[in-house]
Assembly symmetry: C2
Homo-oligomer: 243 residues x 2
């Protein structure tokens, strides 16, 4: 439309001082798949999941929205790539200690990677397509379980359980009804429930409210690992569900 805006760097001081008019020094590094994905991850970490729109991402990269489609097929692929970038942070190289120790270290590293990008982690578990780094984590976890002596069937069950717990953990933050600030605006939303009807919740409400207690993830992980431990040591001692 206007040639004013179509000439890059026209209003940029570093160009019209005129070092070499034929070369555009102000041009950002050329777009690449990695740059797009990194920028997207940064955007989500900083401004949240809903802030990730192709337009916003393009603006961030100083590029038109459709330029992104030269590097990612669609938004879905972009998110998959973001997830794999996040999972690249997981340390899968621990080889010290027995299987329980190693397994704990692996899952904790996994958890920390998700926690570092908790906004992205909220959609993670819904994803089906799995990337190379996700595969690597999976491989190490299953390998440890097999080495521990679990059967292939049980190893895959155990893997799923650990996986589900870890991935699910990020999704659940502060739940619990806010009876204080937001109550007035949800008038008629739900019929209010008096504290007498929920005595136990009321009794422990201080622990339920707010964000996750630090160490809460480890608490659940220890429960699961303790369960695995006794199952490995004396399978018949573990009570199981009927039917």
């Amino acid at each position: 439309m206007t040639d004013q805006s179509s000439v890059p760097g026209r209003s940029d001081p570093t160009t019209w001082v005129g070092i070499d008019a034929s070369k555009d020094y102000t041009r950002p590094p050329p777009l690449s798949r990695a740059r797009v994905v990194r920028a997207a991850l940064g955007l989500v970490d900083e401004k949240g999941l809903t802030a990730l729109t192709m337009r916003a991402l393009a603006t961030e990269l100083e590029v038109s929205p459709m330029a992104l489609y030269n590097h990612v097929r669609d938004k879905d692929e972009l998110v998959d790539l973001m997830v794999d970038l996040m999972l690249a942070e997981v340390d899968t190289s621990v080889t010290e200690g027995d299987w329980l120790t190693q397994l704990r270290a692996l899952v904790r590293s996994y958890h920390q990677a998700l926690a570092a990008h908790h906004e992205l982690a909220r959609v993670y578990s819904v994803r089906v397509r799995i990337g190379p780094h996700g595969l690597l984590i999976m491989e190490r976890t299953v390998a440890l379980l097999l080495e521990a002596g679990f059967s292939p069937a049980e190893a895959s069950d155990a893997f799923f359980v650990l996986f589900i717990y870890t991935a699910g953990f990020q999704q659940i933050g502060d739940i619990v009804p806010r009876r204080d600030s937001a109550t007035r605006e949800e008038t008629g939303y739900y019929p209010p429930l008096p504290p007498q009807q929920i005595p136990s919740i009321t009794a422990v409400s201080q622990h339920l409210n707010g964000p996750h207690r630090p160490g809460r993830f480890d608490y659940g992980l220890d429960l699961l690992l303790a369960g695995l431990q006794v199952k490995m040591a004396q399978p018949e001692k573990v009570a199981t569900a009927p039917q």
Copy 2:
């Protein structure tokens, strides 16, 4: 604008045969919040989450899209109400057996309700606002843990862990890379990973693939409950994470 279209029933045979012009027999039962929410839940159960649009729901109810907004504030409230309707199916009245037995029954019933509406359950955990039925489940779970002898702090941690595992379970179905059918269309999506690099996954792939094995949920639940059991019996015996 045009009186032609603004006069209702003009082209409807059942009205202009004229049994009683003042009464409109063809009118469906009047819209209500409950009817809207039930229809929405049915729609999601049947056609999936993405099929839930206000337009589609209105069509299902033979009503214009905006009519829905007389009964729900917005789509967000609608989903919250759907979730609570789903949670109404959980049986919270079991009082037989010791705390472990009751807890297992409660969580399993919870799981079954989510499984019966697994499409809706996929967004469930992300929700923050909690309804009366969700509160009731929470109350019973925490009460059982307190009765078992856990401290308020530990009871709330245990509740969260059970909650996270159960809610998270629905979100993770068949993961694992499909090397077979979909591989050709994801060319260049991810660099392909040869089976030699993921020997353990390859060894147990038959168990990892496909939908959840029946009983897999119970497997993880038993692990968690076993962990709780030994923690209650002999807390010092449980290995915990360092730092």
